[in-house]
Amino acid sequence: MTMKAAFLEVYRGFMSLLTGMRITLGQCFKPIITVQYPRQTLKMAPRFRGHIELVLDPETGKSLCTACKLCERACPSDCIAVDGAKLDGQKTKSVTEYKLNFTTCSLCGSCIEACPFDAIQFSKDYNKVSFSRDTFSHMDLVKRLEERRKIWAQQRPAAPPAEMPMPGPAPASTPQTQEQKPS
């Protein structure tokens, strides 16, 4: 290496350091791009697969499910248990019980594929924690739908609150899912 090349290398190296410092200084004054998680949350991607949930009909506030049990049959892990009953003055059956054993669910989506009424979908809920596994081995989707229906009813106060068909005894022990509700 000649003398000149050696000096040039030192000079170029130093200049590259200054370039690096200029870049970081530039980044320093640009806006923050991170999401402050508990206070801000990102909208989940449309293809995100949370646990399955019953679809809420935005017109009626009821489930679209007719308890045909095709999902139950389609499930390769056998983790869905559906029960339905024919209510007074209705032609089709309505779902009364929809239990999901989320501990064995592999989120394959066969149930959603199988559903002829598009009555189930993947939820976008990823904040799932619990101290007991019962919370996830006996997820009561009808009850969860009922909770969502209340929010739905609040959001459109003009509409008369449609009564959710829930005959029969309420499930004996449905542990509450502990959720971190992002505000």
Partner: protein
């Protein structure tokens, strides 16, 4: 007011003066360590486009308090098999030198605890003790990572002490005094009288500053030269076995050392408490100018840390022995030649 000035600045009341400066310097070091950690984390956050600590207090302003409580609440444990005496001594020895160094730093025209004639020499001699204390801490820990780190600290500091002292000798030749206050007074006037801009004394003066600054980074074991605490290689280097406030003191000392190094750079190259524009000087403005310059350098240190990745060890030594030492020798020779040239010409003609 005049009484306070008399005590702080004048020759009388030596014990009160001593006590006040002692408390003041300790408070200054403590506050600096606490809030420079926050500045560091905030700076890192800004450079990486995130807010940094923002949970405790308004925008994270109470984070140092939270950190301090956490560290104080932890047990100070001496791991079995270590040299207990040295293990406990090392944090104290690493904390003492920067505290002592700050006594000779002139913060303002008269605001200096001890205005001694060999201030510069004292700062550098105590700076070497700091290295030894870190080495002792690593050695006493009886941990292989800590011992490797100790060896690195020593070889790194030996390598970087040389160009740093050569650069300082260059400045000493220009100023002709080791009294830090006199060095500052030497740079009075507009900002082009600062040593950094004195290219007519030595055309390589800015290069000299760059060498000094790089060496200062290496001496204080800061990134990109933080071989002593290379997390990815050595867990936490010499501090691996330290927990609680023992670790905290090492951290405080690191920031105190940065403050001392940047103060020295300010005094040697940027005119200390001198105003850059002649006006706005005086007993109040002096310390403010000093702090402004010093903290600008401290922020640059933080900025550098979050810009460059850690160097490899042989690159670190190559940089010192192959580039910094030859260049600083050249500046030394050049300064000598520039100073003696007029004399020679005067004699010849």
């Amino acid at each position: 007011m005049s009484a306070i000035q008399e005590i702080l600045l004048g020759p009388g009341w030596p014990w009160v003066r001593l006590l006040l400066y002692l408390v003041g310097i300790c408070a200054f070091v403590g506050a600096n360590a606490a809030y420079l950690v926050l500045a560091e984390r905030k700076g890192a956050g800004r450079i990486q486009r995130r807010p940094g600590p923002n949970e405790s207090g308004y925008a994270g302003w109470l984070q140092p308090v939270a950190d301090g409580i956490k560290l104080l609440a932890k047990q100070v444990m001496v791991p079995p098999g270590t040299d207990g005496f040295l293990y406990r001594l090392a944090p104290l020895m690493v904390m003492a030198p920067p505290l002592i160094c700050l006594t000779v730093i002139p913060y303002g025209e008269n605001l200096v605890a001890r205005n001694i004639n060999v201030g510069l020499l004292m700062v550098f001699s105590l700076g070497s003790i700091n290295v030894m204390a870190l080495m002792l801490g690593g050695w006493a820990s009886r941990n292989k990572f800590a011992v490797i780190s100790s060896a690195r600290i020593v070889s790194q500091n030996v390598a970087y002490e040389i160009p740093m002292l050569l650069v300082v000798i260059t400045l000493l030749m220009v100023t002709g005094t080791m009294n830090l206050n006199e060095i500052v007074q030497h740079q009075a006037g507009w900002f082009w009288h600062w040593n950094f801009f004195k290219v007519w004394v030595n055309p390589l003066m800015p290069v000299t500053f760059v060498i000094f600054f790089i060496c200062m980074l290496a001496e204080t074991n800061r990134a990109p030269f933080d071989m002593a605490e290379a997390e990815s290689e050595l867990v936490a280097g010499a501090f691996t076995e330290y927990g609680g406030m023992g670790f905290g003191v090492f951290f405080m000392a690191e920031y105190a050392n940065i403050v001392v190094g940047c103060s020295l750079a300010t005094i040697l190259f940027f005119g200390g408490w001198q105003s850059p524009v002649v006006i706005l000087s005086g007993p109040i403005w002096g310390p403010l100018w000093f702090l402004a310059k010093m903290y600008a350098l401290v922020l640059t240190v933080i900025w550098i840390r979050w810009t460059f990745p850690r160097t490899q060890f042989y690159n670190l030594l190559n940089l010192s022995w192959k580039i910094l030492i030859p260049v600083s020798l050249v500046t030394l020779l050049l300064t000598g030649a520039m100073m003696k040239l007029p004399l020679l010409l005067h004699h010849l003609f």
